[in-house]
Point group: C2
Chain length 596, copies 2
C-alpha cells in the first residue's frame, strides 16, 4: 500500500506513474471507507483525487500555495500532506475537519466552508507576493457549481483584468453543483467541454484570462502535463478540467446529487445506516408544496441547496415551475424575491442561516427599504444546525433582526411554523423571515396556534405568573418550559412564560406591563447573544429596575462541537437558569415576596 | 420650450424627431442649472438623456417597467414622468430625491441607491409577470461601472441561463465607473466597442444572453430603432449602448471623474461655489499615504470609490502600485485584503459604511474566522454621512461589531485616528476596522493619545467622577463632553467621562468597577441603537442595579434628513440627556447622595 508511506508531497513525486494510479485507488478506498463510518462529502472528493495528486506532483507546497474553494474536496489533499492517518486509522478519524484548516497544516491556507471565495483569497496571496517581490505559484481550485457566486465572478474579473502576475485557477468541472447547475455560464462550460476548449463562447477569456482545457480530468498524467505547462506562468491562467463526480464508487457515480454529501452508509450497498428522520426542513418543504398547490403564484426560490426544503428530485418535480433554483447566487436569490414580491408574486426563499450571511445588503436595500413582502425561510439557524466553524447558524438574529422593517418570526413547533408561513405568504405589508427550528420537530399539542401576526412585535403569554418572566424564543421554547418548572421547584415561584414569536423587536406594552409584578426577566434564544434577541429586551429594561438574565451563545466561534456541551457551557440548562434566578432574587430581596 | 409641456411619456412620443433633439438640449440645461444650485450626479445624467427619451418613446410605462441601476442617472426619467417641475422650478427642487422612488411615481419601481442590483430586481418583476401569465416588457438599465459587482454578475448569469422570457438589459457604457474602470470585463466591453459589437470576446453571450450593440448611444433615433427592435422580445437580450458621460456640459465632459457627482457650482465656469473642506476622508488618505511612504508593503484597497481616501488622481498617482482599485466589487475587496494579510502584506481597505453592507459574509468567513490582520477604514459611518435612505451609514456597528474576532475602533479625533491606523497596520493578531468620524475634523489638543490598542476592549477614562458615567464613542465624544457639563450644571454631579475606543466589545473590568460608585451609565453612539454599542453595555449591566440610558438612532430608515433635527428627535442633545439623567436619578434616589 502506497498511501501508508506518504508523509508529504515529496513521497508522491517519488512514485512512478503506475504507482500513482494505484495510490489514487487507495485514496478512493480510504475516502469511501471513512465516510461510510462518519459521513461527509463523498462525490466531490472522489472526483478530485487525480487532480490533487497531480497538483502536489507539480507544485511545491507549502511555498506554492493551493487554495481550495469551499474546501469540501480537500480530503485527498489532507492525505497527501501529512494527515493520512485521519483517513486510514479509525481512532484518528476525528483529527481533521472536513475543510482546510491552517491549524492542521502549513499546506492549508485558510479556513473555508462557504463557496466562491477561493479566487479572491488566492489573489490576495498573489498580490502580497508581488508587493514584496516574492516568487512561487498561487493556485485556486474552484468547482463549476461555485463559479456562479458573485464573489467568484468578482474575483475572476479582478484577476483577469488587474492582477497581471502568476496565478492559476483550476476549474473543476464535474457538470453539476450540489444538484444540477443553473445559470447561463454553464452553457459556456458545456460549449467548452463539447469543443475540447475551443469554443469562442468562453466566460474566462471574456474576463481577460488565459485559458486551457483538459478533457481527462481524472487522468493524472494529463493533469501533470497541463499543470507543468502553466507552472511559473507570469500571468493568470484558467485550467478547466473535466472530472467525474463520485468516480470509483458506483452508488456515488450513479446518484451524484444524493452522494454530494452523505450520512454514514453501508460500504457494500451504499444504503444509509439510519433511516432519514423527518426534519423541520421536510416540514417546511411539505408545507411549501401545499401552499404551491393552493396558489400557483407561490414560488419557491433556492440558491443551489434544495436540501433547505428537503427538495429531493421527486419533490422538485412536484413543485415544477413554482420552484426557481438560481444556483449558488444568494445575493441574486434575495433580490429576485424582492422583484417578484414587488411584481405581485409570492416568493418564498429557502436559505441556510450561514449562507444568508451573503445577503445582508440585499436584505437591507433590495428588500427592506422597498418593503417587499417576500417570505424568507431561514434554515439551520440553531445550535443543532451545521457544526463546522464555517457553517454556524447562530448569527442571523444579530444580522437581520436589526434591519429596520424586517419581521423576523421564530416558531416553536410545526403548526406555528405552518401558520407563520401561511400568514407571511398571504400578507403584502412586510418582508417576513421565519427562523425554522432545527431540533426534532415538535407539535403544538394542546397549545393554541396563533394565525395572525399582523400586529407586529406582539408576544404571546403562554402562562401568566408573577415575579419572574421567561421569554423563550423559537426552538428554545421547550427549554423555557423546563426552566419555568425548575424555577418553581427551586424557588416556589410561578413564573410567567412567554413565546415572543417575534425576535426582531420587543413588545413594549407587554414588557412595560410586566414591570408591575415582575422583577426578573429571563430571555432564551438559540443564537448569539451579542446583537441578538435578548439584547433588545435588555436594552428595553436598561433604564428600569428590572433585572434581565439573557441566555444564548457567547460571541465566539464554535467548531465541530457537541451541542449539549456548548449549551451547558453557556448556562443553557433549566437548573442552571433556576440557580441564576435564585441568585438574582436573593440579590434584590425577591425571596421575601416570592411564595417560597 | 418643449420640456414645460411634458406631463408624461405620451407627450414625448408626440414630438417629432427634431423636437426630441431640442427636448434633450432643454433637459440637459435643466440638469446643469439645478445641479449648479443643489449639487448631484452631473455626468451620469448628462450622458443618459437621449437613451431615456428613447426608452420612454418605445416602452409603455408604467406597464412596461424600467429599473435603473443605482438610479443616480434617473433625472431625465423623472422629468419625463410627471416630475419636470422639480427640475425647472427652484421652489420644487426638493420635491424629488436623487434616486428612483415608488412614492414619487408609478414609473419608479424600487428605491435604489446601491450599484449592481437592477438586473436581479428586474428579473424578479419579469418572473412574477411570467408566473401570472402576464405581458409587458421589463427593462434593466445598468452602467458599465456597476457590471463588476457580484450581484449584477449573478443576475446576468440567471437571466442568461434561466429566465427564458422577455427582459431587456440596457448596458450604458460610458467607458468609466466613478473613476476609471477596473477588471477584465472592461476589456470585453472595449473589444465590443472597437468591433461595433462583433467581437466574439463577449461577456454577455458567454453568459447565454442575446446581444446587440448601438454605437450612437447619444442618438435618439438610433436608440429608438434599437429599442423598437427588441421590444416584446420573447427572450432576454442585452442592448449595449455607447454613451458619453457629461455630454453637453464642457467641464463635465472634460473632467469626467470630478463631475460624476458634483457639489454646487458656478454654471458658467464650472467652479465649485465652496472651497472643498478638509474632511476625515482627507485625513485618512493623507495618513495612509504617509504609511505607504514608510512601508512599501502597505497597500490601499478601494472598490471603485477613491473618494473614501479623498484619492483624487494626483493622490492616486502618489500611491502608485500601493493602491489597488478593484472596481465596484466590495466582496472581492474584502477577501483580497484577507488574502493579502495572510500572505504577509499590509492591506488597508477604505469603504463607505453603506457599501460595507455588501460584505457581511466576507468579513465573517474570509476575514474573521481566519483572523486575517487586515485593516478596514469605514467611512461615512455617521449621521453626518450620506443622507439618502439608500446610503445611510448608521448600521455598521450592529453589522460588524457583533462579528466574533473583529476589533472595531472608533477614534474621537484626527490624532487618535492616526494612532489607530498605525497600530492596526503594525499588528498581526486581529482584523481591525476603524470607524472614521464624519463630522468636522477635531484634534486631540491637550488630551493624550493612546498608541497601543492590543489590550482589546479596554476603554480610556478621560475623567473620573462618580454617580453617573458617560461613555461617548467616536465622533459623539464631544457630545459626551457637553453632556457631562450639562449634568454638572443641572445636578451638580461630577460625572465620569469615558472614551471607549472599542465599539465591538465591553470593558468588563472597568464596567464592573464603575458599579462601586456609579448608579447611572449613559452611552452615546453615532449609529443605530439596535444591535449597536450601547446594547452591549445594557446587556452587561442587565443583571445588575445599574441604570443604563443609551443614546443613538432608533431602528428606522431616515431619508434626506437634517442631522440636527434627527439628533434632537433621538434625544441626542446635552440638555435632554441631563434631563433624562435627572429623572433617572430621582427615580432611584440618587439625588440624596449626589453632591447637589
Amino acid at each position: 500500500m502506497y498511501l501508508e508511506s506518504i508523509e508529504g508531497p515529496q513521497d508522491v513525486r517519488a512514485l512512478t506513474a503506475g504507482q500513482r494510479v494505484a495510490l489514487a485507488s487507495e485514496i478512493r478506498h480510504a475516502i469511501v471507507h471513512k465516510l461510510a463510518a462518519r459521513g461527509g462529502h463523498v462525490g466531490s472528493n472522489l472526483g478530485f483525487v487525480e487532480a490533487t495528486i497531480a497538483l502536489h506532483c507539480v507544485f511545491d507546497g507549502p511555498d506554492d500555495k493551493i487554495v481550495f474553494d469551499v474546501s469540501h474536496q480537500s480530503y485527498t489533499h489532507k492525505m497527501l500532506t501529512g494527515r493520512k492517518d485521519a483517513f486510514l486509522n479509525e481512532e484518528c478519524y476525528g483529527d481533521v475537519s472536513g475543510f482546510t484548516d491552517p491549524d492542521e497544516s502549513d499546506y492549508d491556507l485558510f479556513r473555508i466552508g462557504h463557496t466562491s471565495t477561493s479566487i479572491s483569497l488566492a489573489s490576495g496571496l498573489a498580490k502580497a507576493r508581488d508587493m514584496r517581490g516574492g516568487r512561487g505559484n498561487v493556485v485556486a481550485v474552484i468547482g463549476d457549481g461555485a463559479l456562479s457566486g458573485g464573489e467568484a465572478l468578482e474575483g475572476l474579473d479582478y484577476v483577469g483584468g488587474e492582477l497581471g502576475s502568476n496565478m492559476i485557477i483550476v476549474v473543476n468541472d464535474n457538470g453539476m453543483s450540489i444538484a444540477e447547475n443553473h445559470g447561463g455560464l454553464y452553457r459556456s462550460l458545456a460549449d467548452l467541454r463539447a469543443t475540447d476548449g475551443a469554443s469562442p463562447n468562453n466566460l474566462f477569456t471574456a474576463l481577460g484570462l488565459d485559458y486551457r482545457y483538459v478533457a481527462q480530468g481524472n487522468d493524472i498524467d494529463a493533469l501533470i502535463a497541463a499543470f507543468t505547462d502553466v507552472k511559473d506562468t507570469d500571468h493568470p491562467v484558467v485550467v478547466h478540467i473535466r472530472t467525474e463526480k463520485g468516480l470509483g464508487y458506483a452508488p456515488a457515480q450513479a446518484r451524484k446529487e444524493e452522494w454530494h454529501w452523505h450520512a454514514p452508509f453501508d460500504e457494500t450497498t451504499g444504503r444509509s445506516l439510519e433511516a432519514p428522520a423527518r426534519t423541520y426542513m421536510t416540514e417546511t418543504g411539505d408545507h411549501l408544496l401545499d401552499l404551491m398547490a393552493a396558489d400557483p403564484q407561490v414560488t419557491g426560490i433556492i440558491a443551489g441547496t434544495p436540501t433547505v426544503f428537503d427538495f429531493t428530485p421527486d419533490r422538485r418535480a412536484r413543485a415544477g415551475r413554482q420552484l426557481v433554483d438560481v444556483g449558488i447566487a444568494e445575493e441574486h436569490a434575495i433580490a429576485l424575491a424582492s422583484g417578484m414580491a414587488k411584481g405581485g408574486g409570492k416568493p418564498v426563499v429557502g436559505m441556510y442561516s450561514s449562507f444568508l450571511q451573503r445577503t445582508y445588503d440585499q436584505m437591507m436595500d433590495d428588500v427592506c427599504i422597498n418593503r417587499s413582502p417576500a417570505t424568507f425561510c431561514i434554515l439551520n439557524a440553531s445550535i443543532w444546525g451545521m457544526k463546522d466553524i464555517t457553517h454556524l447558524g447562530l448569527f442571523d438574529i444579530a444580522m437581520i433582526g436589526n434591519i429596520p422593517g424586517l419581521v423576523y418570526l421564530a416558531p416553536t413547533n410545526v403548526e406555528e411554523l405552518q401558520a407563520m408561513m401561511d400568514w407571511a405568504v398571504a400578507q403584502t405589508d412586510h418582508p417576513v423571515a421565519i427562523r425554522v427550528p432545527a431540533n426534532e420537530p415538535t407539535h403544538a399539542g394542546g397549545r393554541p396556534v396563533r394565525t395572525d401576526y399582523s400586529d407586529i412585535d406582539t408576544y404571546t403569554v403562554e402562562h401568566r405568573g408573577a415575579d419572574v418572566a421567561v421569554i423563550a424564543a423559537g426552538d428554545f421554547f421547550e427549554l423555557g418550559q423546563a426552566a419555568v418548572r425548575a424555577i418553581d421547584d427551586r424557588l416556589g415561584i410561578d413564573a410567567t412564560l412567554i413565546n415572543p414569536q417575534f425576535v426582531s423587536g420587543v413588545d413594549g406594552k407587554l414588557l412595560m406591563a410586566l414591570e408591575d409584578d415582575h422583577a426578573i426577566v429571563v430571555t432564551l434564544e438559540d443564537g448569539m447573544l451579542s446583537g441578538g434577541f435578548g439584547s433588545k429586551v435588555s436594552a428595553f429594561y436598561a433604564p428600569t429596575a428590572i433585572r434581565v438574565l439573557s441566555y444564548g451563545f457567547a460571541k465566539t466561534y464554535y467548531d465541530r462541537y457537541d451541542p449539549a456541551e456548548v449549551m451547558l457551557r453557556n448556562g443553557l440548562d433549566p437548573d442552571m437558569i433556576a440557580r441564576d434566578v435564585a441568585d438574582a432574587a436573593a440579590d434584590i430581596g425577591l425571596a421575601h415576596h416570592g411564595r417560597a
